[in-house]
């Protein structure tokens, strides 16, 4: 009987794989796999036989903890409806776990209250590895395995008791993008601000040109700004440090005894932030820019900002409102907003760190990113059914649906290619190593407050009239070393007795 069940499951998986291959739309040929020569990572299905018998549990209910937006936008309902229909003959029903999306599996799972399947960011999911609160995934046997780049799988890679496992299945890549207003570019940008003639304005390609244009806007004295961003935000500011040699944890973000915010020439990157702050107003010190960026980019107070692509619709909505107030019809306003709001990859940095340098050598800005994905709770009574759900939710068709509903950037190469635009750019950046995935170890929780305090202090320094703290690269480096020390203290000092 077990053998028959296993064969059925294997058959379903093969059909799933084939449907993933075949469902790419008419314009899509067979999907290209990524990292064709990449080594296989994680324990395989045979090694995980103790967990996944291969026999689908019948008559079970799987509680799925999904992202709030996926629920509110209707994607999740569509997902579980499709899954439930497909697995109706087995009596497997997927339902909304109906829990707070940030609920803690380590607290709830052991007592039977947690979800069976979780969709969260890699840093959240991976903190469950230490206590074995989530099951490893037989990634190599999944249909999406070859479609997802190694860098995304790496976010879910963990070494447990000397064996390497994959703990989650990547679905969505998060990273920073540059948002700017095309209609706020100078009239002569094609002749004066496009040195390489590639039809992309220089300010979107180089931070030096963005700095120069921001200065031009500020110098007009109209109360308008060029590039604006809340600089205290570690997620967006730390990339400037990473670009010059900084890192969060050593040994590929796995060694919490080696903290590297001050490593290499990270202080040069911090100095870039300081130079940017000088062309902003005090709103960049706290979250004021983050809160008002949508409306201020729309009303033309800001020319550009940097944020994640999942909020594109909010910018578009605000810009459409502004155009409607200017007298355009709803349709015209929406069209114009879509034309004028440009979402593109972040500009490059000067290797010297000097934003005033003319014709600098440029290096890519590494941005902090995250990989959201699915994991399976180790407290589930139906691991095989959960695996079938994850397989179903990560196939091409569902990932494309997720992209359509939520505007996510797919981790699957075929979906990213089909989605095009931002998805392709972010996917490429991840592949090229320009996106630094948030560390997947528990200690990441101790990083945010010390780093946030430093960035706030750095931004504030631009507005201090007396007693400026960061007047040289050495002093900035000292500040970063102090951040490293605080993080170290937070992680290790009180752990002496542990």
């Amino acid at each position: 009987m077990k053998k028959i069940g296993s064969m059925i499951l294997a058959g379903i998986l093969i059909v799933g794989m084939m449907s993933g291959c075949g469902g790419t739309g008419t314009e899509q040929s067979a999907p290209e796999t990524v990292d064709g020569d990449a080594k296989e990572i994680g324990a395989d299905a045979a090694e995980l036989k103790g967990i996944y018998s291969g026999e689908l549990e019948r008559g079970v209910t799987i509680r799925v903890l999904e992202n709030d937006t996926a629920i509110s936008e209707g994607y999740f309902q569509e997902l579980i409806d499709a899954f439930n229909e497909k697995y109706a003959e087995y009596g497997i029903v997927a339902v909304d776990a109906n829990m707070d999306q940030y609920s803690n599996l380590a607290d709830d799972g052991p007592y039977g209250y947690g979800p069976d399947v979780l969709y969260q960011a890699n840093d959240v999911l991976m903190k469950y590895v230490e206590g074995k609160h989530i099951y490893p995934i037989p990634a190599q046997s999944m249909s999406c395995y070859d479609m997802i780049p190694q860098a995304a799988w790496d976010a879910y890679r963990a070494d447990v008791d000397g064996t390497e496992y994959i703990m989650g299945v990547p679905v969505n890549i998060q990273s920073s993008m540059l948002f700017y207003r095309k209609d706020m570019l100078p009239d002569n940008w094609e002749t004066e601000w496009d040195k390489n003639g590639n039809q992309i304005p220089d300010m979107a390609e180089s931070w030096n040109d963005m700095y120069r244009y921001s200065k031009e806007i500020v110098d007009r004295g109209e109360g308008k700004f060029g590039y604006m961003r809340s600089l205290y935000d570690v997620y967006f500011s730390s990339g400037f440090l990473f670009s010059y040699g900084g890192y969060v944890f050593g040994d590929n973000n796995t060694d919490a005894t080696d903290i590297g915010f001050a490593a290499g020439d990270a202080a040069v990157g911090a100095n870039v932030i300081l130079q940017q702050a000088e062309l902003m107003n005090e709103d960049c010190i706290d979250d004021s820019v983050t809160v008002s960026a949508y409306s201020k980019l729309a009303d033309g107070t800001y020319f550009a900002t940097m944020t994640t692509p999942d909020v594109t619709s909010l910018f578009l909505r605000e810009l459409t409102n502004v155009y409607e107030k200017e007298g355009l019809s709803a349709e015209e306003a929406e069209k114009k907003a879509e034309e004028n709001l440009v979402v593109t990859q972040v500009p490059k940095l000067p290797a010297s760190g000097d934003l005033t340098e003319e014709n600098p050598e440029l290096i890519p800005l590494k941005t902090m990113g995250g990989v959201n994905g699915y994991a399976i709770s180790a407290y589930t009574k139906a691991p095989n059914a959960c695996l079938a759900f994850v397989e179903f939710a990560t196939d091409y068709e569902m990932v494309m649906k997720r992209h359509e509903y939520l505007g996510i950037v797919p981790a699957r190469s075929d979906a990213a290619q089909a989605a095009g635009g931002i998805s392709e750019i972010i996917y490429r950046n991840l592949d090229q190593g320009d996106i630094v995935i948030m560390p997947s170890i528990r200690e990441i929780e101790q990083v945010w407050t010390p780093a946030q305090t430093f960035f706030q202090d750095l931004a504030k320094d631009a507005f201090r009239t007396t007693d400026k703290k960061y007047t040289s690269i050495d002093l900035i480096k000292e500040g970063l070393e102090s951040v490293d020390q605080q993080i170290y203290d937070a992680i290790h000092t009180l752990a002496g007795g542990q």
């Binding site: 706290d286 407050t449 946030q452 202090d457």
Partner: protein, 441 residues
């Protein structure tokens, strides 16, 4: 004192215990049954039986778990259920409470049998079960009504407090959280808190600021509330009901909403700075990294905004009981308004509100929300994982929740508990409310 009212000593009981009492010592309820109190005897016996079942079934295991905190680590991947130290600690405390309850019932059973023996010796008749039950609706009614509250206090107050106290003596926290096994570490956490070079200076700094915060904010809230109540008590004030209701709006809005609102108001992009920059001045960092005293003063003010209405209401109620003739006499005798306040109103209000004042002090000492919402997420130089506006409770949060050190958090909680208890007791026992309880009766 009559002999019959004398308390039974253990020696008396052991020396004078008759056969039935000795049987009750051996088997709970047996003595009562032999005295013909079948219902009561069965109740005691039932307690014994239930206790035996509980202890055989899990009580002894739970009690042993309280000492070991587990011996087998769980491994979900291998299907090993293992021990959960935290649950074992909790269940261990419950089993300890069960032991205490059993001891109480046992002693009560002996005492009851001995009292019945004495009653019979005096020629009395033991009460029947119904009569005994009726007593719980009459002479012992206080026991009936107190039963549920006491149970509630045990489960919802005492159990968590004991749990927290015991956590301070374990290594629960950091990476040692279930499924890893937690161990007892004696007073290591207290030694660590007292000796860690980064820790002690931060503790002393925060404690100093915390005491200052609690004293000043309690005084500000109290006198502002009292002042407002006195003002609105004046005959010349028109529309008193409206003015009294007005501050209640601030009180009615949930505290954290108010705090987030004020945070926005004082942020760089908020309305206060918009007015300032609109007037041609530079924006002010009311709550930013350099704003130590500015942020503290804003904290005092917002706390007053939230707390003054409740004090005002309280004082309004108390002032309505003021002896008008006393005030009239003082006025005739030539006392100034301040003298009337200083010598009549204040002592009168203070007498009635000292316990409230203490609870306000404790509440302010442990006021988590104010600086968490206004200025959270900062670690300032010279402080260990804290900022210069953090109170001990905020620091406790940083250490225990943000950084997972539940054991250190529990240790600091105990220290806070000792400090606040000592201060409260000191204030209360020296207050007129305690020393001159009958003054205003």
């Amino acid at each position: 004192m009559k002999r019959g009212n004398r308390k039974n000593t253990v020696h008396d009981v052991l020396k004078r215990a008759g056969r039935n009492v000795k049987l009750s010592m051996c088997v709970m309820g047996l003595g009562q049954m032999l005295y013909g109190q079948i219902g009561k005897g069965l109740c005691y016996f039932a307690v014994l039986v239930m206790a035996v079942i509980y202890f055989v079934h899990r009580g002894f295991k739970d009690l042993a778990g309280l000492f070991t905190l587990g011996t087998q680590e769980a491994d979900t991947w291998l299907g090993i259920e293992g021990d959960n130290s935290v649950v074992m600690l909790l269940m261990g405390i419950l089993s300890a409470i069960a032991v205490l309850f059993l001891v109480y019932c046992y002693l009560s059973n002996i005492k009851d049998a001995y009292e019945t023996q004495k009653l019979c010796e005096r020629g009395g008749r033991p009460m029947g079960f119904r009569e005994e039950l009726k007593q719980f609706l009459d002479r012992k009614f206080y026991k009936t009504v107190l039963l549920l509250p006491i149970l509630g206090v045990c489960v919802f107050n005492i159990l968590p407090i004991v749990f927290m106290i015991l956590i301070a003596f374990t290594n629960y926290g950091g990476s040692t959280v279930p499924p890893k096994l937690v161990d007892w570490v004696g007073i290591d956490n207290f030694v660590q808190v007292a000796t860690l070079s980064q820790f002690a200076p931060t503790f002393i700094r925060i404690l100093g600021w915390n005491l200052m915060w609690a004293l000043i904010s309690t005084a500000v809230n109290y006198f502002a509330g009292l002042g407002l109540a006195l003002l609105l008590n004046k005959d010349c004030v028109k529309g008193k009901a409206f003015w009294r209701a007005f501050p209640m709006l601030a009180y009615a809005v949930p505290g954290f909403i108010t705090l987030l609102g004020f945070k926005f108001m004082f942020s760089y992009g908020g309305p206060v700075n918009q007015i300032i920059t609109g007037m041609g001045h530079r924006a002010v960092g009311f709550l930013d990294i350099d704003a130590k005293w500015m942020a503290r003063i804003i904290g005092f003010t917002i706390n007053a905004w939230i707390s003054v209405p409740s004090i005002m209401l309280l004082a309004t109620g108390i002032l309505s009981n003021r002896d008008a003739s006393q005030m009239e006499s003082a006025k005739i005798d030539g006392a100034s308004a301040f003298q009337q306040f200083r010598h009549i109103t204040l002592p009168f209000v203070l007498f009635s509100t000292t316990p409230v004042l203490i609870s306000q002090f404790i509440g302010n000492f442990n006021n988590f929300g104010i600086f968490f919402f206004l200025r959270g997420g900062l670690y300032i130089d010279g402080y260990f994982l804290a900022s210069d506006t953090d109170l001990l409770i905020n620091w406790l949060y940083n250490l225990s929740i943000n950084n997972n050190y539940y054991n250190v958090g529990a240790t600091i909680s105990l220290v806070i508990f000792i400090i606040t208890s000592l201060i409260s007791l000191l204030i209360y026992t020296n207050s007129t409310s305690y020393r001159e309880e009958d003054t205003f009766r």
